[in-house]
């Protein structure tokens, strides 16, 4: 299965991955401007720019083989689709946040959508034909979409 890999050697820590991820998951997936200016709540990204003095990288759900979040999900809302992508069915989620503590990398986040709590995780933009949005818009090819185990 293809995964997004962050190459910390070339991450410029700009945060565009977050901007475009938030946009594509908003009500206005085609326009950053509209997504941020017209959405009732600030759009939220599912990829997180992790920064330190030494390195940075856009990190996101690893879609683990033996996914702790799926095991822990009390409703069955967290599931793996046919392509191996771990997805959260927001319809069925009761926001118990068990996945938040299950994820060993802290990559499932709670977000406040105007008083309504939602849990968000990377869905690899599986509805899109092209690569995940964060990869498409990474200005320095520091996020790449590759088959697992593929070397750079």
């Amino acid at each position: 299965m293809k995964k997004v890999v962050a190459i910390k050697e070339y991450c410029v820590a700009c945060g565009l991955c977050e901007v475009y991820c938030a946009t594509v998951h908003s009500r206005y997936p085609d326009s950053v401007l509209k997504a941020f200016k017209l959405s009732p709540q600030k759009p939220v990204s599912r990829v997180f720019l992790e920064k330190s003095e030494q390195w940075s990288g856009g990190i996101q759900c690893r879609h683990c083989k033996d996914a702790p979040c799926i095991a822990a999900c009390i409703t069955g809302a967290m599931y793996r689709n046919r392509d191996g992508i771990v997805l959260l069915d927001e319809e069925r989620c009761v926001q118990c946040s068990t996945c938040v503590i299950a994820c060993p990398y802290g990559l499932i986040k709670e977000s406040d959508m105007g008083g309504r709590k939602v849990l968000l995780k990377c869905d690899l933009c599986y509805q899109l034909a092209e690569s995940p949005t964060c990869v498409t818009y990474c200005p320095n090819e520091a996020l790449i979409w590759v088959e697992e185990g593929e070397t750079l």
């Binding site: 410029v12 565009l16 090819e141």
Partner: protein, 499 residues
């Protein structure tokens, strides 16, 4: 503390209608011209810090940013313009020599733009590069006076640099530019079948695999030079001078001497790397010959040894001397040549246009009958393929590009290389900035640039009805001057347009 009279140079124009407070600009500006204000919960500008490098403009996802000149008029004065006044303030406040990056930006005439190329019409056909082969390959190095055995199929030649396109990436040292810049240049040169020059700071160990396509530089500081490196390199260049600062040496500030630079240059961490203008073992052409031959001896006469000089007033005589000292290549670096740091007054006021230096040197070497003994490489301000074709018609064997290569890598010509805070990751050693050049992308961009020039050169050659770059070399009949006076035409050795 007395108030500073410095004024901002640039104005950060932020379109509030478009700004989404994403802080990408804040994340990208190493100069801290964009700041996230916690209390206002918005991005604010610190215009004084802006160097107009466009990093934020390019990265802003909503095109909310634009940088303008900070318009502050002084009372009209044809002599004391705003720039002169501001520079005076700066020196009065600091007591420092004015320092600047990149090449001369003054409005001196650009002679390339006064040269026009010929094209075939009716009397001899032009050649279509899409259908017919046109040869851009060339060889740099000493050529024999005549064939020893004209009937033999092959003849031993002195060492040569084979170039698939008559373009090389000129010397930019590791230290002045980042390792990722070097990686990009090295990989692109190898892919293009040309050479890149690692500059005077040695060759980082990660790049040893590119050695065959690397020209290493021996400058007065002798940084990173050792026997195995000389033997490994594709070619050797002695740097006597450079176009941006003739008569002035190199000086890499200690801030840029981080661990890798220090190891590659073999100097202590954080120490200034000083290479003064003179090699202190060269005070004459005879001394230069000594260094040339020490390098030839070191490499068993299997390596090309070139000498790079700045284009200065008596360049023809100097070049003749260099040729006679045994150099295989002479590099003439015109006064528009770039640099990481140069004293402003030197950069803007010393040297010659490469066009004149080239014409004068080619002419002189021909007159002395030694043009074949040395190849001529022109550097300093080459911007495009037409400049190259004109240079070759004026007598160059190949050209060096430095600034153009950096622009291909993203440089926006803000001329702040000396600060070490290059927002494009080129002229910096700050690890978070170095990451901004992805060598994979860098290589592709450089290869694209040279390949596009390659095709343009073929079109121009084809248009002239010439199918090999060798047939254009020194073929000044293919050039006409426009807007030049008689003396300029004479020095360039070309006819006026219409003649």
């Amino acid at each position: 503390m007395a108030i500073s009279l410095k004024l901002p140079e640039f104005l950060v124009v932020r379109d509030k209608e478009r700004c989404i407070e994403c802080q990408v600009c804040v994340n990208q500006c190493a100069n801290e011209a964009h700041i996230w204000d916690q209390d206002l919960e918005q991005v604010v500008s610190n215009d004084v810090a802006c160097v107009n490098c466009h990093r934020c403009v390019v990265y802003c996802p909503t095109r909310a940013l634009r940088i303008e000149e900070w318009k502050q008029d002084f009372k009209k004065n044809a002599n004391w313009d705003g720039i002169s006044i501001k520079q005076t303030y700066l020196q009065a406040e600091s007591g420092g020599t004015l320092l600047i990056g990149m090449g001369n930006d003054k409005a001196y005439p650009i002679y390339w733009d006064h040269l026009l190329l010929n094209a075939s019409q009716v009397t001899n056909p032009s050649i279509d590069p899409l259908r017919e082969p046109i040869e851009l390959r060339t060889y740099l190095g000493r050529k024999p006076d005549l064939l020893k055995n004209p009937s033999a199929f092959r003849e031993e030649l002195p060492p040569q640099l084979q170039l698939e396109v008559p373009v090389m990436f000129s010397a930019m040292s590791f230290g002045s530019v980042s390792l990722n810049t070097h990686r990009s240049l090295a990989a692109a040169a190898s892919e293009l079948g040309i050479y890149w020059n690692a500059g005077e700071g040695g060759l980082h160990e990660d790049l040893f695999s590119y050695s065959p396509k690397t020209i290493v530089q021996v400058a007065s500081g002798r940084f990173g030079i050792n026997a195995s490196m000389l033997k490994r390199a594709g070619g050797i260049e002695i740097k006597i001078g450079q176009g941006a600062k003739p008569g002035i040496g190199g000086h890499l500030p200690g801030e840029k001497v981080e661990e890798d630079v220090s190891r590659t240059r073999r100097i202590p961490y954080g120490s200034d790397a000083i290479s003064p203008a003179p090699h202190h073992d060269i005070y004459s052409i005879e001394d230069l010959r000594q260094l040339i031959y020490s390098l030839k001896e070191a490499t068993a006469y299997e390596r090309v040894v070139g000498v790079k000089v700045a284009a200065v007033h008596n360049i023809a005589a100097i070049a003749s001397g260099i040729a006679r000292a045994g150099a295989d290549i002479i590099v003439l670096d015109g006064f528009r040549g770039g640099t990481g740091a140069a004293p402003l007054r030197i950069r803007d006021n010393v040297g010659l246009p490469a066009e004149f230096a080239l014409a004068a040197v080619d002419q002189r070497l021909r007159e002395e009958g030694i043009r074949n003994e040395v190849s001529l490489v022109i550097a300093g301000g080459i911007r495009n393929s037409a400049d190259i074709i004109k240079a070759i018609a004026l007598g160059a064997d190949a050209i060096y590009i430095g600034t153009a290569a950096l622009i291909a890598l993203g440089c926006h010509m803000c001329q702040k290389c000396y600060t070490g805070k290059c927002n494009w990751g080129i002229a910096t050693q700050q690890p978070d900035l170095v990451r901004r050049v992805n060598p994979k992308i860098g290589r592709e961009r450089l290869v694209n640039l040279v390949r596009s020039w390659e095709h343009e050169m073929k079109e121009m050659l084809g248009g002239m009805g010439i199918n090999a770059i060798e047939s254009l070399r020194g073929n000044r009949l293919m050039l006409r001057g426009v807007g030049l006076n008689a003396k300029e035409l004479e020095i360039l050795g070309i006819k006026a347009a219409g003649e």
